[in-house]
Chain length 123, copies 2
């Protein structure tokens, strides 16, 4: 297909600020019904990601702060990536969402396995 | 496509017994690196599902027991369902995994949005 990430990514992005508590992150996930939270700095740059799996890991390992569970080496995607590339990148790293960033590391969208799922559901 | 659920589902299923603690469920998710745990009774019948999102919900709402967060009305799939049907079912319910059950409600596999993702990655 010639479908690009920009064609199917969601622009409705829920992010959190670095330094909030694990409980606050869990509350945002619950209220917005999302499983992935990109973490941004004061000037809106992507600095990490926290997922519901990380919250579960915090419960298993009795972690106290977001810093202990936040992943800082974030795998991302670009607007003009073909969706096959995004799908392979998620498969390789066993993850199910990629923040889409511009050349300044600002988040402009999120592509996840659910966006790709929708594509297959409509064949 | 003529691809069926049985062609791409995973048969490596991690389940938990009803009645275990939230911490134990979180520990299984961490050790097996999974986000969905079908819950089974003593005679291996599917009785519910708990996901990492539910563990996160437990943190947000300060839930104490697995019963408070386990979903009992589980959306499932059958072996001979076309994958497009499974994908649409996940999209309709905003979920990302379906236990695959036989006619006795015994779990024989799991299909998730990552299994469908793999398909798209290989085009
Ligand atoms: C390796 S996956 C395993 C569980 C499951 N497959 C999933 O998708 O959540 C879980 C870990 O991946 C990390 N993760 C998720 N999306 C990520 C991304 N775009 N870049 C880097 N790490 C990511 C999470 O922070 C979490 O620590
Ligand atoms: C509605 S989704 C929202 C978050 C996200 N989209 C996800 O897939 O986890 C989260 C809820 O769906 C439930 N759920 C996941 N898979 C399910 C299934 N096969 N049948 C019924 N409920 C399921 C979980 O137990 C959890 O309470």
């Amino acid at each position: 297909s010639h479908t690009m990430v920009s064609d199917i990514m969601t622009k409705d992005i829920t992010t959190i600020r670095e330094g909030i508590s694990i409980e606050d992150a869990a509350r945002v996930m619950y209220e917005r019904e999302v499983t992935h939270l990109p973490v941004v700095s004061m000037n809106d740059k992507l600095v990490g990601i926290v997922t519901s799996w990380d919250i579960s890991r915090a419960v298993a390992l009795k972690c106290r702060t977001l810093d202990e569970i936040m992943i800082t080496n974030v795998i991302t995607s670009r607007l003009d990536d073909p969706i096959e590339l995004a799908a392979r990148r998620m498969e390789t790293h066993n993850i199910s969402a990629l923040p889409v960033v511009d050349e300044h590391q600002k988040i402009i969208g999120v592509i996840n396995s659910e966006s790709i799922n929708k594509l297959v559901g409509s064949y």
